[in-house]
């Protein structure tokens, strides 16, 4: 995949020959090598690949949680490499909503207070924070559960609260790391539908790491990675085909994959 110069383009995410090297003692682990990609605003994309392929590393770089060893990461018009640690934290608070595999709610807080956590970093007063958290909970269909603690919510509901938390500060980018990894099939479908809705109806750009072949039905575009390399051309086609086969016939049963895009999908799948 080729990308233009950062200055000339205006996608939400632009990576230019990004590498990430980890050192463990004398060992060097090349988690990511010379990856370049672009994601336009409002797209719902997935990073897929086997374990150790560099998906989560790529996600961390895109969300400003980690820094590349070399290359440039541009998100929402900002080159992340140039930001200090504190500036990056501020940038994440403003531009990124995060969803994790294991929900990671604060167990001593109610659903509403969990959702309102990112708003502590804003200038909003207490009542405004509560109001916005309740709106976010309504968006994910949990308006009647805002006083509930984590322990009395189901796994699917917890992930919905986590999605509301990612959504509440109205970020440009929502980043999801295996959001269906800890859910059963029904709840996984529900979460993927919700993410699709956020992208289609609210114009959110969503980047998701997943192993779940079901995700193919919901995303606009899939980036395949293997051994730290972003696959392109025939390699990417082969990986995509294998995934579609798994989704269509092997793992989910005949007819699991729709033959055409659902009605809410505004953009064709890539």
């Amino acid at each position: 995949m080729s990308v233009g110069s950062p200055a000339a383009a205006s996608p939400l995410i632009l990576l230019h020959r990004v590498s990430r090297l980890y050192r463990r003692g004398i060992d060097e682990i090349h988690a990511l090598e010379a990856c370049s990609l672009r994601v336009e605003r409002g797209r719902f994309v997935a990073f897929m690949g086997p374990s150790g392929s560099g998906k989560s590393t790529l996600l961390n770089l895109v969300s400003g949680i980690d820094r590349p060893t070399s290359g440039e990461v541009w998100v929402a018009g900002q080159e992340l490499n140039r930001l200090t640690e504190d500036e990056l934290a501020r940038w994440r608070a403003r531009h990124v909503g995060l969803i994790f595999q294991f929900f990671n709610l604060v167990p001593v807080l109610s659903a509403r207070d969990n959702v309102a956590l990112p708003l502590l970093l804003t200038h909003f007063g207490r009542s405004e924070r509560q109001r916005r958290a309740e709106i976010a909970l309504r968006v994910v269909g949990l308006e009647d559960r805002h006083q509930h603690l984590q322990r009395i919510l189901s796994g699917g509901e917890q992930q919905r609260v986590a999605i509301a938390r990612a959504l509440v500060s109205d970020p440009d980018l929502i980043v999801a790391d295996e959001p269906t990894g800890d859910l059963d099939a029904r709840n996984a479908e529900g979460v993927l539908s919700l993410l699709r809705k956020l992208s289609a109806e609210f114009g959110k750009t969503i980047v998701m790491v997943t192993h779940d072949p079901r995700a193919l039905r919901f995303v606009d575009e899939v980036f395949h990675l293997d051994k730290g390399v972003l696959l392109e051309g025939e390699e990417a086609e082969r990986a995509g085909e294998a995934m579609r086969v798994a989704a269509g016939g092997g793992l989910l049963g005949e007819g699991a994959l729709p033959t055409q895009a659902p009605g809410w999908a505004k953009t064709p799948r890539g």
């Binding site: 949680i65 504190d86 994440r92 608070a93 294991f102 001593v108 990112p118 207490r126």
Partner: protein
């Protein structure tokens, strides 16, 4: 929910652990506060019992050495001396007790009123003391301890003079903390002579009342001048200095107690730090998520440190409050724990309250600093990678 609410919610995450840590801090602060009150209590005791116009004179070689009785006449003859009384240590043990449990002195009865006007002993008691050779005036603390009352007869056995004296209690020294027993010097003198010995002829302590506070130094110098180059050179001290020196060993004891308490506090710091570390370790995933969603390092540090400081401060305040309550209760019960002697007068002053609160703050800061700093400085990607 704001930052304070978040800190509060986290403190309630494991209520039992928070409560136990809080109890440890409260107990340490209570202990420190009570011990810090001891010097103030001791000072208050000295101020209460010591007059600024009374001077104690003893043999320069020490309290157990004597001075000739003839010195009394010379001292009383000095200018600015209002009165003076010579005392001899009787060392009387209450026969039912078998050991010395209160200080008892043979005194010159006629010079007690002039030397101890501030003791406010009732005139009828002083008159009876002068009238009856076997009379005794007893401090209120000893009266209460043995449930004696005026008119009772008691026998004291001296552990110095090898005599038993039958005594008639004729009055009380109306001071709550006073254990002293005064007996008539002439009565002891007779008892000794009755055993074929030469009689007293000595004094061991002379108490001089100076006419005016500004003449005290002058009188002390002139008293010591009287005995210069004799076999019984004296040293004079104000009553407060005298008692302070007498209780000097207690000051050293107090220092040791304070050192032990400081070590106990240090132990509490380590315990609280360990608890904070466990709490942080258990929540490393959450902390990683907070960092990821935009909480800066200093915020994470402040939130985690805030938890230990709030807990420690609250628990320390309880400890200070308990110390203050203990003081109040003690005041209602008579102002002192007799079993602790001169150290039994706890007085929680504003300074002690401030020191207690400062200590609880310090415990919170020292206990929370390392875990909070460690959690805040870890790269967020490392935390997330390790946890998820």
């Amino acid at each position: 929910m704001g930052y304070a609410g978040f800190v509060y919610a986290n403190l309630l995450r494991n209520p039992l652990r928070s409560a136990l840590t809080g109890c440890a801090v409260a107990l340490a602060v209570l202990l420190v506060c009570l011990l810090l009150t001891m010097p103030a209590g001791l000072d208050a005791l000295l101020t209460r019992v010591a007059s600024d116009t009374r001077v104690g004179v003893i043999n320069k070689s020490g309290l157990v050495f004597w001075m000739p009785y003839s010195l009394m006449r010379k001292i009383r003859a000095l200018d600015d001396v209002a009165d003076a009384v010579g005392m001899v240590w009787f060392g009387g043990a209450f026969e039912e007790q078998g050991k010395v449990t209160f200080p008892s002195f043979a005194v010159e009865v006629e010079h007690i009123p002039g030397t101890y006007p501030d003791y406010a002993v009732a005139p009828e008691a002083l008159a009876a003391f002068a009238r009856y050779r076997d009379g005794a005036i007893v401090g209120r603390q000893t009266m209460r301890k043995y449930r004696w009352k005026v008119g009772d007869r008691v026998t004291l056995r001296s552990n110095i003079w090898n005599v038993n004296l039958d005594l008639r209690i004729v009055g009380e020294i109306p001071r709550d903390g006073s254990p002293i027993v005064w007996i008539n010097r002439d009565y002891l003198d007779e008892a000794i002579k009755a055993q074929g010995q030469a009689g007293l002829g000595i004094v061991m302590i002379v108490w001089v009342r100076v006419a005016s506070p500004d003449r005290v130094n002058s009188v002390m110098l002139r008293v010591d001048e009287l005995t210069r180059n004799t076999d019984y050179e004296t040293t004079s001290q104000t009553e407060k200095t005298f008692f302070s020196n007498f209780l000097g060993s207690l000051q050293g004891f107090l220092q040791i107690l304070l050192m032990v308490t400081a070590l106990v506090s240090l132990c509490i710091v380590f315990i609280a730090a360990n608890t904070a570390s466990m709490a942080v370790r258990e929540r490393s995933g959450e902390i990683g998520v907070l960092r990821a969603i935009g909480f800066r390092r200093r915020m994470i540090f402040a939130l985690l440190l805030g938890e230990t400081v709030v807990l420690s401060w609250a628990a320390g305040s309880v400890g200070v409050g308990l110390a203050w309550l203990a003081t109040k209760s003690l005041a209602q019960m008579g102002g002192s724990i007799a079993a602790l002697g001169p150290l039994g007068g706890f007085i929680v002053t504003p300074r002690v309250i401030f020191q207690g609160l400062l200590l609880s703050l310090a415990i919170g800061v020292f206990a929370g600093f390392a875990p909070a700093y460690g959690a805040a400085r870890r790269p967020v990607a490392d935390t997330l990678r390790e946890v998820f």
